[in-house]
């Protein structure tokens, strides 16, 4: 049926692949939003707003903040991997709901 729809005849759409792309996108997106929020809190002074432009110090702070979050992310990622960080061990409350399928597999 999809052969006759849209501008890409003959191409199958795998919802699963799109879902995975979405998850990857979400990961990047939440990282970005988190950086945006964190560096705003850390670098932009809340008292007065005498100037609409970023001050020298604020610019400098933002650049370092973004670089540091990025690097911290990688450091923590590496550390956590050595500890066997994973959903099975650290989000146990999920197991209750997945048990039926899981126990059959094992």
């Amino acid at each position: 049926m999809s052969m006759f729809m849209g501008s890409f005849p003959g191409q199958e759409v795998s919802q699963e692949k799109i879902d995975i792309a979405e998850i990857q996108f979400n990961a990047m997106n939440s990282t970005f939003n988190n950086i945006l929020k964190t560096c705003l809190e850390k670098c932009i002074s809340r008292d007065g707003y005498g100037e609409g432009d970023l001050a020298k110090g604020e610019m400098c702070c933002i650049d370092r903040c973004v670089a540091k979050i990025h690097y911290s992310n990688r450091v923590i990622g590496g550390f956590v991997q050595t500890k066997g960080f994973g959903p099975e061990t650290y989000l146990r409350h999920y197991n209750k709901f997945q048990d039926t399928g899981e126990s059959q597999k094992k």
């Binding site: 890409f8 191409q11 799109i18 996108f25 970005f32 929020k37 707003y49 970023l54």
Partner: protein, 87 residues
Amino acid sequence: MDALNAKEQQDFQKLVEQKQMKDFMRLYSSLVERCFTDCVNDFTSSKLTNKEQTCILKCSEKFLKHSERVGQRFQEQNAAMSQGLNR
């Protein structure tokens, strides 16, 4: 992961567009929240004072510049990482 084919890419693009819109609205409301919280503290009148208004405008400008700069740096970091140049 296998690359998406053209049709899948089109669907994905749509998804990203919706997310962008949603995110943009969220960014906007966080701007309003922050600048209102920081600039408006006097409720003896229902009108914004001149001072409050200037503060809000300056605050918004700063907020936008902050977002812009973080966006730029974030992109640079990502690019550097995917090229393996980063430490």
